[in-house]
Amino acid sequence: MSRALQVGEAVTVDARYPDGHIRTPYYIRGKTGVVCAAMGEFPDPEVAAANGRTDAMRALYRVRFLQRDTWADYAGSDHDTIDIEIYAHWLTPIEEAAQ
């Protein structure tokens, strides 16, 4: 995805499982959360890991998920959340995903 995401926007994490160094935790792939901050742009860690360095920049967002959505057996409060910083190329706004 290429456009900037807005704080408050609902996004779904890609359910992709590529080899290599991936900063998107396995357990959050396929889950839906809400953007809570834009962190700026950073060198793409996936490319940098394989090549040693990269000039490719990726936007990084802090995304907030409900714990009950994240863990099938979560026994805590329905309001508990977890924040994860995820690169833009892993995130799809839910209205675009539905099209």
Binding site: R16, Y17, Y27, A48, A49, W71
Partner: protein, 126 residues
Amino acid sequence: MSDAAKGVPGHRGYHDIGGLAEGPVAQTEHVLEPWEKRVDALRVLLGDNKRQILRADGLRHAIETMGEDLYLELTYYERWMAAIIKVLVERGLMNETEIRDRMSAIQARLDIPPARTRPWPRIESP
């Protein structure tokens, strides 16, 4: 279309263990050994703007491709050291003979019996 592209849960890195049952986390501080601090310093120097040989992403890549058996056998900074050796050898900056010879010289100088040292980590290139 590959399984990965279809989104079938597939590859999970052996390091990517969030949410798996691993028992309680030890919460006590442990004192770093001098060699562990030295390995940390080596990695920082290899990744500085002058050298740009091994940055954090490359360190992670090397650790995440060393194979699960070796990953589970090594301690935290042993993984870093194995990753540093792997990258230095792959980049042609040092070869295994030079590293072995240096290790032997240091063992002799410090009078460490070879039996007390760990086996050389075998790291397969991807």
